[in-house]
Structure formats: C-alpha cells, structure tokens
C-alpha cells in the first residue's frame, strides 16, 4: 500500500456541478488537496461554485456548451494548475474520449482507464466481456442500431416489450420502453437525440425487457493491477421512469449465500479487466429463482454511493483519490459491513403531478440537525432552480442498526426538512416510509410506478377529520398569503406579519 509520489495529486478540478461537486471538494479538503470548481452562466451563483478553492466559468447554460466541453474543462484545469480532473457522475464521467483527452493533456483522470470506460461504456461489448467471465447477461442486440431497417428487424427478433438504451448512457437516462411496433421509430429517434444531447453519443441498442425484478448493484473498487474490493450490494429497485428514487444497502432480499455469488461475479468481472477506481456492476435479480443477470457496469461513482459509505465506513471518493495517486489494494479482503443505510433523492419535481419539474426560487430552507443523518446537497435559500440540469437538489441519507430503524429515521428526517417556494419529492419520501409494502421490503422495479398509478386513480372519499383538516389548512395558508379575509384576520405569527407587512411565509 505505497503511494507513488510521482503521482501525488495536489489540485483537482471537478468537471461537474451540484451536490457531487461539493462532495468531491470535501474529500479533497480532507486530504489536503486543493480543489477547482467549474460553472456555467446559469450556475454563476450556484453553491458548488463557492465550495472549492477556486472557480472557473466555462460557458453558457446548456451542458453542450459548458459541462460537456472537453476543451474548456481541460483548459481550465491547465490554467489553474490542477493536476487531476474528477468527472463526478453524469456529464463526461463515462466518456472515454474525455478521459483520453485529459490524460493526453498530461493530467490524471480520476477514474478508470479510457479503454475500460470504452469497453464497459459500450454496453454491447460489456455484456460480451462479462459473459466471458461467466456472469449471466440479458439478451439484446450485438451492436448499436444505426438505421430504421435494422431497428425494425432486430425489434422483431427480440420481441416486445423491449428497451431502447443509449449505448453510451447510464444513470437511467436515455432508456425508453417500447410496447408496440408503431411506437418504435419515434421512440428510437427520441432516444437517439436525448443520448446525443446528454452523453454526446447517439448510439442506441435494444435489450429485452425483463418482467419485474429487483435492481441490485455491487460496489467495487479496483487498483488497476487486478486487485479488487467488494463493498456490498445496493438495492435500487424503487424507480420511476428508470430513475432511482430511493436506494439502500444492504438489500432486504439478498442473503449471505446470494451475496457471496454476487461478490464472486463482481470481483471476477472487475479483476479480469484490471479495473481501476470505483465502479458498479448492475444486476437484475429474480427473487423467486434467486438468479441475477448482469445489466451493465457503471465506470464511475454512483449517485447512491453514500449508502455504501454508511454501512462500510469507507470514503469512496477518498478511495478514488488514493487510487488515482497510485495506491495499491489487497485483493478481495473481508470488509465488515454494519447496519442499514437508506438514501432518498430530493428532486425539484412535483411528485403528485406526474413529476413535472418545478423551477423557481428556494425561498426558505430548513435542514434538520439529526443523528446518523447525512444530507448531501447543493441548495441554499434564494437559489434559483433552472430547467437546464438534473432536477436532483439533495440526497437524504440515514443509517440505522437495522432496516426498521433506518426507515423510521428517514421518515423523521424528511418530515423536518423544509424546502419552501418549489415543489419537491420530500412528501413522497415521507409517504413511502409509511407504506406497508415498503416497510416490509416487498417491492420490485415496477412497484413504485404501479403504486403511484393506483394512488392517482383512487377515488377520493375524505372523512370528517380530513375535511376539518383541509379547512384549517386552507385558513392557515390564507393567512400566510397577502390577501387575508377581512372577516378573519387569521392566526399565528405569519398571519400577523401577512396582515401588517403584506409578506407571505417563505416556507409555503
């Protein structure tokens, strides 16, 4: 475990924004490494801009003109005398050409080698390689689809429903389910253009859609010389529109026997390619047959990495920095995992209006102080939420001795977290923590969507208590608004302020 002093990192530029940029700056700070932020014009007052030692403006709001511009990012790194670039997740984190350009500029890319990103990022080739390592894979096309004729032929061969997936995609973006032939071409075109915009790679392939199962992923870290660590699994089945909503570690359905198999598969796959850095192997897990299928490998840090950190006590970003500095690992050690961790993604979306993005100003913010709770975020009062980037504002992460305690802790945390001025997914998280099926850990990748569908169709039949609450809530909101009823001046401090100063409660 010796550090190669030649590769000692002194200053890291983070080619990303939001909570992950802030998370990485902090890991750098803990190691005495200086950090450089980059920001677009839309992010001129974003929290991440001010969270590093230095900040460089890289261009206009659209990602293609800022956070996806190789030249501007590398130029910013060279100009600020950074010696390494951390790509975060999303944006260029799984772009082999970027990693190569970074290395060609004489900088360290904090992540896998360009070749590893290329082979795993090419979902088609990744499946081949994993298949060779005896990991079971899902049926799909052998190559990306470039023309409509091949598209229709392959779709017919694989059968509906099917998934169109961006070959260069990840993080749930650039995936579309197609149920019927008539939707195929327009869905393919849409997926291609989305993939082009999001990943600068418009290739799309087909994969068979598997009936509801669990999304289970294995966290690994490799040192680039064939030594690999397995840091347990994450349960990521609660998804909507292929976007993870809540993740946990461990999974309520993986026992020691299955975990041992997952570990063996993940270690073998990563070791075979001498994987360097933090990575995630995604699997679909069938509870009844206890089988898992390799989906893809994410050659980057994941949004949900904190749940692994909470149960393992290992700083994954710190490990990324150490490995980029040349640190070597012992192969496949026993790493103790303890307790249970859950993460809930707080997004600027209206969970009760089909998750419509909610933009506007965060008018008030109350982050609770609570034990065993961690909030990774990039928010502050007064921040304008723009439509240009991912809607995730923050992540609420909790740890408990066991799953029940973790669920209770998350519910308690979310019920005291207030983000005023915009809609967020916070109330959905509170509701989830009180659903019997969630408390029992009984769900698959389709459960959340069908629950949301069911609750939107439910006939409302409010009882007396609910009607009384609604009137009282309406009255309280009325007094928090400017125009109060002359007949009812309304109560509470805000009612008084609203009357005398004509202001409204920024929390509401």
């Amino acid at each position: 475990m010796s550090k190669q002093s030649a590769q000692q990192i002194r200053r890291v530029l983070v080619a990303n924004r939001g909570e992950i940029a802030i998370r990485i700056f902090q890991a750098c700070r803990e190691r005495g490494i200086e950090s450089v932020a980059v920001f677009s014009e839309a992010d001129a007052s974003a929290p991440h801009r001010y969270a590093a030692d230095e900040a460089v403006r890289i261009g206009p709001a659209p990602p293609a003109e800022s956070y996806l511009r190789f030249d501007k990012l590398i130029e910013a790194a060279l100009r600020t005398e950074a010696d390494a670039i951390h790509p975060g997740y999303g944006f260029l984190s799984e772009n082999a050409n970027f990693a190569r350009a970074v290395e060609e500029a004489g900088l360290i890319f904090i992540g896998p080698t360009p070749e590893q990103i290329e082979s795993m990022g090419d979902k088609v080739r990744a499946r081949e390689l994993m298949g060779a390592a005896s990991v079971p894979v899902i049926p799909g096309t052998d190559s990306p689809i470039d023309d409509k004729k091949t598209l229709q032929k392959e779709a017919k061969r694989i059968g509906y429903p099917l998934l169109l997936k961006a070959a260069g995609g990840g993080g749930g973006k650039g995936i579309r389910r197609v149920d019927q032939k008539k939707d195929l071409i327009s869905a393919w075109e849409r997926t291609r253009s989305e993939a082009q915009a999001a990943f600068a790679d418009g290739r799309v392939y087909i994969e068979r859609f598997l009936s509801p199962s669990r999304h289970i992923e294995a966290q690994i870290v490799g040192d680039g010389d064939g030594s690999v660590w397995f840091l347990g699994e994450r349960e990521c089945s609660l998804q909507r529109n292929h976007q993870k909503v809540l993740e946990e570690s461990p999974s309520p359905v993986i026992d020691d026997e299955v975990r041992a198999k997952l570990r063996a598969a993940a270690i073998a796959g990563a070791a075979a390619i001498h994987y360097r850095g933090a990575g995630t192997m995604e699997f679909l897990y069938n509870e009844s047959t206890r089988e898992f299928f390799f989906l893809e490998m994410n050659t980057r840090l994941q949004v949900e990495h904190p749940v692994t950190e909470m149960v393992s006590g290992i700083d994954l970003v710190g490990m990324q920095l150490d490995i980029a500095s040349g640190k070597k690992l012992e192969h496949d050690p026993e790493l103790p995992l303890r307790g249970w961790s859950i993460e809930f993604r707080i997004c600027a979306e209206d969970p009760y209006r089909n998750f419509i993005p909610s933009t506007g100003q965060i008018r008030a913010l109350r982050i609770p102080h609570a034990p065993f709770c961690r909030i990774d975020g990039s928010i502050r009062e007064g921040l304008e939420i723009t439509p240009y980037y991912d809607p995730m504002l923050a992540k609420a992460i909790v740890w408990g001795e066991n799953r029940d305690q973790a669920v209770e802790r998350l519910s308690a945390l979310l019920s005291r977290l207030r983000i005023g001025g915009i809609h967020t997914t916070v109330p959905l998280g509170i509701e989830l923590c009180n659903q019997d099926w969630f408390i029992a850990g009984q769900f698959d990748t389709s459960t959340l969507e069908s629950w949301l569908q069911q609750r939107s169709e439910e006939k409302l039949q409010p009882d007396t208590l609910q009607l009384v609450s609604a009137v009282i809530a309406r009255h309280a909101l009325g007094t928090a608004r400017k125009q109060t009823s002359p007949a009812s001046p309304g109560g509470g401090a805000w009612g008084k302020a609203a009357r005398t100063e004509g202001i409204r409660n920024p929390l509401l």
Partner: protein
C-alpha cells in the same frame, strides 16, 4: 365563514368559526354535524397540531401552495389534496365565471423548459392526441400533445426558446 370543499363531482359546504388567532374552531357541516377543534401552530407556521375528539393529528403544510391551487398537506404521514374555497375564493369565482372560451384554444406549457422541436406548422390539421412539439426540461424530452382537434392557428415559440410554465406555446383553432 363559509368554506366549500370539492372533489371528484362532490361538493361539501362547511361553516367554520374560529377565534382571531385561529386556535379554537367550531365547524358546522351541512348535515348539521358539529366538530370542535383546537389548533396549535408549530415550526414557523409550516406545521399545525390539530386536537379534536381526544385525538392529536399533525398537519404539515406543503410548499408550492398558491392562491387558487388545491390545498396540499400531509395529515400525519398521508398526503391530502383538496380544492378548498374560502369566502374570498367563492366571490372571485363568481366574478370570473364568464361564457366559455371561444374556438381559439391556447396550448400552455405545463412545465418550464426548452423548445427542442416543433412538430407542426401553422395551417396543419391536427387531431386530439397529435404530438405538437418536444419540450426539454431537466434533461428529459417531453412530447406535448394536443388535447383538442382543429387547425394550428399560430405558433408563439421557436425551436431553442426557453419557456416558463404556463407560457402560451401555440394556438389551435378548434373544430366546431
């Protein structure tokens, strides 16, 4: 004070009286039922404790509540969303309810976003359900479809435009 609560196709009227501070309540339902309640304001006005019938419940008011929008809150841990009209809303509504809109149907943006692609041009005949344009918001492309049939009368946006929620995207001349 008269309140009116609406859901699905039902309406309930409630006559509510409270003290000036909104603490002691007496609510009379149209069927004559009377409920008494005590309300305490907690956490900067965002949370109310409701004590009625020997029970204590927590009402968490949720952000994004606007005048005219349904009231949204958590009652303990369950979400409730109801159209509650207070005395002022009831007056405003009477004033506003004029004759039904004419044949010119504006298509409004349901979300803030960027117009990626226009799929129709002025003069195009469209059916209800026809895709009109692609609106990108937070990295996702959303297809905006017509909810009425007719002819595209006017397009108010161009590809690449950033639009706010509620902005007029285009106008459809509805079929008779």
């Amino acid at each position: 004070m008269k309140y009116q609560i609406e859901w699905d196709d039902q309406v309930r009227e409630i006559d509510a009286q409270c003290d000036p501070l909104g603490r002691e309540w007496k609510l009379r339902f149209s069927d004559g039922k009377i409920v008494e309640a005590r309300v305490e304001t907690l956490e900067e006005g965002a949370v109310l404790r409701l004590i009625t019938g020997g029970e204590s419940k927590t009402i968490t008011l949720l952000p994004g509540n606007r005048a005219g929008a349904p009231v949204r809150f958590l009652l303990d841990h369950s979400l409730l969303e109801l159209d509650v009209l207070d005395p002022i809303d009831l007056i405003t509504r009477e004033v506003r309810s004029g004759p039904e809109a004419s044949g010119h149907h504006p298509v409004l943006s349901v979300m803030p976003g960027i117009v990626r692609k226009l799929l129709v041009a002025p003069g195009d005949e469209i059916e209800s359900g026809s895709p009109l344009l692609i609106l990108e918001a937070m990295k996702m492309e959303n297809e905006i479809a017509a909810t009425v049939s007719g002819t595209i009368e006017k397009i108010e946006v161009s590809e690449g435009d950033a639009v706010a929620a509620g902005a007029v995207l285009l106008i459809i001349d509805m079929k008779e």
